[in-house]
Amino acid sequence: MRVLVAMSGGVDSSVAAARLADDGHEVVGATLKLWGGASDTGCCSVADVDDARRVADRLSIDHHTFAYAEEFEAGVVGPYVAAHAAGATPNPCMACNREVKFGALLARADRLGFDAVATGHHARVAVGDDGVRRVARGADAAKDQSYVLAGLDHERLGRVLFPVGSSTKDVVRAEAAARGLRTAAKPDSQDVCFITRTEGRSRFLGRRLALTPGRVVDRAGAPVGTVDAVEAVTIGQRRGLGLPGGTAPRYVLATDPGTATVVVGSEDDLRVPEQPVTAVGWAAGPDDGELAWQASAHGGLRPGRFAADRVRWTARQRRIAPGQALVAYAGDVVVGWATAAR
């Protein structure tokens, strides 16, 4: 096969490329330049592109750099900012996988004559008895990335390879070291690549939005504190709300930038019997049986059943911020996905 490997400059995609080359595929590496200028730091910096190129050199495969800054802005960062402006908290990695890596890049790979796109994601592709391909968890439970790949359908999964999904991270690192790849000991990437740890989410949003200072009220509407930016507050949060100490912990139950209000309540108030959802999708048709739902990249599993426009929890669960993805698993296999609604 002719395979285009998306090489981030990290250890996983380095080993992914090496394994594909070993398997005799015609492999070309590509690094996506998604963000930042020539002297940036963090994700897809020049240093990362350099690492990817030098690994490709070591593997004797061609390497190209593709500029996807416009697609990344339009499909990932812009929607991320707009969602926060509306009081929602989306997962930008899912948008990037859908719009950029397995959207624009996969379409480009087609035009350029490739049979498949490979990435270094820790995930696998499972084919059910029904012949339908589904995303499945990677072998390393702690590094599993199936959550952020949910939404890839049968057709796209037929043109996608995850060569390290069957290995634990330790094995991947050891293999990289044994192959003499310079990325063997490189730290794992951060959560949201376009927000640096030093800047943080609030300051990033502050550069892109007019942030709304807000009142913090209890469930009865009585004011109890203030926040600098309603847009940077997330459901379930308990710190940074300007609340006096000495009382029982209070959690964010709801946010509304429109009325500049954050509602807080007890942990019990945070627990609800059902979660409204929107943008529901299924790998192979709706399933109203009990499934295990995951609401963040490494979050716990919540048993519940899908019904029309909501998930009914088997036992009460914490509220989920609007915009967050809910991914339904049957065992290790992704069978459905949805977005938390208000």
Binding site: G37, H64, T65, F66, R108, L112
Partner: protein, 379 residues
């Protein structure tokens, strides 16, 4: 059966053109046996000094200046930066065209950030500065003699008339291989050159500083190059530059005519084969006398430059979209934006540049390979 070997078709001469074998040959002694530092006084030093001065004479002949006005640098970028930083002494503004190479453009931005007044001069659809926008009190005007992306040749005499008190700097890096600099660069007080664009090695260039023009050194130190550029001169590079400069002068007219004919054949063929292609800065029916002989810049609506370049590379055709950032990804062209080319058209830009070693066979192969690649990328 093994596939036919891919014959590389090199159409990126504006990025770097192959070295003239004569230049390589002349450099070899200075990389092997002749290791003297030209600043010394012994025989080995004097030998190196003589070689550098021979090259200086050749570069002076290329530009039509006195040898003492040639300051060797590490390349075109250093020459541009030296000119802007060294000569932008105010009090009037620094005026730069909107289509300058990044060496000028980003330096102007850096100077603006330090408080130097900077004016960007808009250009017309061919890439020529709007003379009405030139401030009469400009202290320094920087306009490239020929644009690196689209190849437009810029007359400098009108600029000089517009702002008689201004120091004029021109980036002649692309022009030097093709144009009669003694005539066309005559209005400029400062002229930037690069060796590897005309068949010399990378890592060497020159700034011509005409007598009487104030230009403070950027690189200070041991006072080499008459105090205008310190640091031990790159003797082998300068020797190669000198040979390439001499050959550029000797061959200029014949080479320009031969390559322009090849370029015209390539342009005519591609425009006929790719119906959607639009030639940049050359309106339909126009001649190309205002464009460098080796330059052909096209926009291919409906394609992405990255994809066309990838497919061409697979076919052994080397070209570019005209500007690359440090990571190697193509970035939107400020030149096309300044020319008024719509974003969605500019996205499919393709720069094909021919040079001294380009052959009829190269053009034949480009005409065979490029149209199907464009069709594939536009699918």
């Amino acid at each position: 059966m093994a596939p036919d070997p891919v014959v590389p078709t090199y159409l990126d001469h504006a990025a770097s053109t192959p070295m003239r074998p004569e230049a390589v040959e002349a450099m070899v002694p200075f990389l092997t046996t002749h290791h003297g530092n030209p600043s010394g006084s012994h025989a080995a030093a004097r030998h190196a000094r003589r070689a550098v001065d021979d090259a200086r004479d050749a570069v002076a002949a290329l530009v039509g200046c006195r040898p003492g006005e040639v300051v060797f640098t590490s390349g075109g970028t250093e020459a541009d930066v030296t000119a802007l930083v060294g000569a932008s002494l105010g009090p009037g503004p620094l005026a730069v065209s909107a289509v300058e190479h990044a060496a000028v453009r980003d330096t102007a931005h850096a100077l603006a950030a330090r408080g130097v007044p900077v004016v960007e001069l808009p250009v017309d659809g061919r890439g020529r500065v709007d003379l009405d926008a030139v401030p009469a009190n400009a202290a320094l005007i920087s306009v490239g003699l020929a644009n690196n992306e689209v190849g437009t040749i810029h007359p400098l005499d009108a600029l000089a008339e517009r702002a008689p008190g201004a120091v004029i700097h021109t980036d002649a890096v692309q022009a030097a291989a093709w144009l009669d600099l003694p005539t066309l660069a005559a209005p400029a007080h400062l002229v930037a050159l690069s060796a590897h664009k005309l068949g010399g090695p990378k890592g060497v260039g020159a700034l011509v500083v005409r007598e009487g023009t104030a230009c403070a050194p950027l690189v200070t130190g041991g006072g080499q190059e008459r105090g205008r550029r310190s640091g031990t001169p790159n003797v082998p590079g300068i020797v190669g530059f000198g040979v390439a400069a001499r050959m550029a002068v000797e061959e200029r007219a014949a080479k320009a005519g031969r390559v322009a004919a090849l370029r015209d054949r390539l342009a005519t063929g591609l425009l006929a084969a790719v119906g959607t292609a639009v030639e940049t800065v050359v309106p339909a029916g126009s001649d190309r006398n205002h464009v460098l002989p080796g330059h052909l810049h096209l926009c291919l609506p409906g394609t992405a430059a990255d994809e066309v370049l990838f497919l061409l590379d697979q076919e052994g055709v080397a070209a570019t979209a005209a500007s690359s950032c440090a990571s190697g990804a193509t970035s939107p062209s400020h030149v096309l934006a300044a020319l008024g080319v719509a974003d969605d058209v500019a996205r499919g830009s393709l720069r094909l540049t021919l040079g001294w070693s380009t052959t009829e066979a190269d053009v034949d192969r480009a005409l065979t390979v490029i149209p199907p690649v464009v069709a594939k990328a536009a699918a």
